[in-house]
């Protein structure tokens, strides 16, 4: 009888101890991931007017500074391309120059057309804001007088891995 009681007590103590020990922690499983992210944005609404020249020289180019662009990518080797939806009038050239973020390369002042062209390459895993963006409009004398027009410039970030 005493032996049975002893075992019962031991069992109870063991059960209680086990319960006490297991009650001290609780666990949760956190599942997470980071997807590929590529974002570009621009600011500014540039207006370019060519209205002067130095006698004997081509028309004086018009430039628009003060625009900016920003980028975030968590991929490597991304590029920025730029294009316009319709060709410029004959004799007119619209160009863009984007300042490259750290570690990337700008193609400098680059003429824009309906086919996308690289303007910045080698962008790798960074976020950079308020980078310089300059537009330039060039015209030959042969272009004549050109009525006001607009072009939407589309920038695309592509090619990262």
């Amino acid at each position: 009888m005493k032996t049975v009681s002893f075992l019962s007590i031991s069992t109870l103590v063991a059960m209680a101890a086990a319960s006490f020990a297991s009650a001290q922690t609780a666990t949760q499983t956190v599942t997470f991931q980071v997807s590929a992210i590529n974002q570009i944005a621009v600011t500014g609404a540039p207006s370019l007017v060519i209205n002067t020249a130095v006698a004997g020289s081509p028309l004086t180019s018009a430039t628009s500074a003060g625009n900016t662009w920003s980028v975030t990518t968590n991929q490597s080797g991304a590029s920025i391309t730029a294009s316009i939806p319709s060709a410029m009038p004959a004799g007119l050239t619209l160009s863009a120059n984007l300042v490259a973020p750290a570690g990337a390369t700008s193609t400098g002042l680059t003429a824009l057309g309906t086919t996308a062209v690289n303007v910045v390459t080698g962008i790798t895993k960074l976020s950079a804001a308020s980078l310089g963006l300059t537009y330039q409009l060039d015209a030959t004398a042969a272009a004549g007088v050109v009525a006001s027009g607009t072009r939407v410039v589309t920038y695309t970030i592509t090619g990262g891995v």
Partner: protein
């Protein structure tokens, strides 16, 4: 001592033992695990947008004498550039606010003196652009209840 007396004495001893064990028993439970946290967006020029989950709860049952602290840790380090934080709301004691989780336990709630029921656990996942693309993976978060007399 008669057999009946011995049984009574034994029963009293067992009851006392159970009472002692019951008094020492305080436990922390959680309502489940948060849904998958996926960072997939950013504002250009800024770090990727953090993701928050606040849908799970915790309960601290039957705290008795003394005070209790809840610590939290994860079973393995987070990938470079990725941080997981936790914040526990509480109705007793003080929350440590937002705590970045690591493999070393850190206090998330201290001074618990009374029962805490269904209080929110908030997780936030942050990543820098330099973290790159991080494939889906898991971490086990352990909440530990410690008696701090």
């Amino acid at each position: 001592m008669t057999a009946t007396a011995r049984r009574i004495r034994c029963a009293v001893a067992v009851t006392g033992l159970l009472v002692v064990v019951a008094e020492a028993q305080a436990q922390i439970t959680v309502s489940g695990s948060p849904s998958t946290m996926k960072i997939s967006a950013a504002t250009a020029g800024s770090a990727p947008l953090a993701v928050t989950r606040a849908g799970t709860k915790y309960t601290v049952q039957q705290p008795t004498s003394g005070h209790y602290t809840v610590t939290a840790n994860i079973n393995a380090p987070m990938p470079a550039g990725v941080t997981l934080t936790i914040a526990l709301a509480t109705s007793s004691g003080a929350s440590s606010g937002t705590v970045t989780l690591g493999t070393t336990p850190q206090n998330v709630v201290t001074g618990i003196a009374t029962k805490v029921t269904n209080r929110a656990i908030t997780y936030t996942l942050n990543a820098t652009a330099s973290a790159g693309v991080v494939p889906i993976q898991t971490r086990s978060v352990t909440l530990t209840l410690i008696n701090t007399p």
